[in-house]
Amino acid sequence: MNPESVPGYVALRGDGAPTGRGSSAFTAVKPLDFEIDSTSAIGIVGESGSGKSTLARMLVGLEPVSSGVVTYNAAPLPQFLRSRTGRRDFRAAVQFVAQDTSSSFDPRRTLGDAVETPLAILHGITGDAAAERVAEVLALLQLDPGHLRRYPSEVSGGQRQRFALARALVVRPRILLCDEVVSALDVSVQGTVLNIIKEYCETNAVGLAFVSHGLPATAFVARELVVMRAGEVVERGPTRQVLDDPQHPYTASLLAAYRRDRAVVGPAERPVVAAVGPA
């Protein structure tokens, strides 16, 4: 299968609202309607517990949707995930990168194993061809190929998070969902990683859904912003418009909080924006 030719869009339609269970309880009041295709660059912002991670996990089928439905190419996602080939088609087209935790890589397996496995399973690429593709992605993410032989505990958090990105990008997905991918990184690395993500998605026509509580980072990579609070979308629109003219008081308070931080930190340490800068 030629990975370039995988089409795809993911949509989530909640008639009432998708509801999670337990600690990730996700109780939306308003209907959710969400669509990502390979031209999207959506940023989802909101405070902790606003349901934004749950939303991202639902979109890739890692969390059940109890009301509403996630579709992939207009067919319900569970239908895809049930069969082996459907699962592989969907996973090859839509990849998800989770927030860095020390557990995002199997401690007993090398980073190389983690990056090569998706290639082998989703595209049947092994051996030299796989090594070539892995090297390509590592170069893109400015990672040392020597680290492939290392174990996750032997590299830094920033490197591990870039390896997590490599693991997702190596299969050439059409849609990339990122859940707090830069939140754990220090500011200088954040800028580099954000630039890489943005550039990669734009040049390769990869749809991006970027979930983060960091407003500036999200605004930098996203053309469209979705603001969530308590499991409900309070505002959405083109990034510029949301930033310049927030309609919902919650969005305004998020912006104000960010501006206040910036005033305290001062321009020299301005998070992300200083490191990223418009090209």
Binding site: V60, R84, Q95, A98, D106, L122, A164, R167, A168
Partner: protein, 238 residues
């Protein structure tokens, strides 16, 4: 201080195994035949003396190692492998909805219930069903030992189950069964493997007791040698 080589802990066990493997070639008398006068002191032809029926205690001790080790090893391997598999099955499924979840939760309750059944009853039932033999003794022992192995594995699986690398494996297109064996098993087998040495030790102790329970339950009244069995007590103690 020099570091102890990693194989050092296996030395005592290796000696035991060596005795079990080569021992029977070295023993001077048939361990199940009368070798001389009853109740001889240690020394001379009878290194450890003879017991009340005139069997050679040294020969019986060495021969016993083989039987004890075979049973204990069998029990340990069976209890650990079954414990790991059932522990994985319960741990991965008990929180699930649908039939697999029912199986997981049901098995979990069965394991808890097994605590209420005394080991002796298990032994009586198994021996009653399959007759008194070394095999049924092994089965009974494995049944008694397996719940602990299951529990140790289950708890570990519950810890590992929410680790982010499982989601990463799902994103890589892996199925649940493959994820279980490739990522969950290696990260949750340690406690059960460590406890395997306890299972081994307890098996040997219980084997020694097995001969003291009423004849109907123990092995048939052949003078099969077993470490610590009453028949191999030194003459001075009987």
């Amino acid at each position: 201080m020099r570091r102890r080589p990693s194989w050092a802990p296996f030395v005592p066990f290796a000696i035991l195994v060596a005795v079990a493997v080569v021992g029977p070639l070295l023993i001077p008398f048939d361990p199940e035949r009368v070798a001389g006068p009853a109740s001889q002191r240690p020394g001379g032809a009878f290194l450890f003396g003879t017991d009340a029926t005139g069997l050679d205690v040294f020969s019986r001790t060495i021969a016993a190692a083989r039987i004890n080790l075979t049973i204990a090893l069998l029990v340990t391997v069976v209890a650990t492998v079954v414990g790991l598999l059932v522990g994985l099955l319960i741990g991965m499924n008990e929180a699930r909805r649908g039939p697999l979840g029912w199986v997981g939760r049901g098995l979990s309750r069965v394991v808890d219930l097994s605590d209420a059944v005394p080991a002796l009853i298990v032994g009586v039932v198994v021996v009653g069903l399959f007759g008194a033999s070394l095999v049924s003794l092994s089965v009974a022992l494995a049944l008694i030992m397996v719940p602990n192995q299951i529990r140790l594995t289950r708890v570990e699986v519950l810890k590992v189950r929410h680790d982010a690398y499982l989601d990463a494996a799902r994103m890589a297109g892996m199925g649940e069964a493959r994820i279980t064996f490739r990522h969950v098993l290696p990260n949750s087998c340690r406690p059960a493997l460590e406890n395997a040495s306890v299972v081994f030790g307890v098996s040997i102790i219980v084997l020694r007791r097995a001969l003291r329970v009423p004849r109907a339950i123990g092995t048939p009244p052949r003078p099969t040698p077993r470490v610590g069995a009453p028949g191999s007590r030194p003459a001075s103690r009987t």
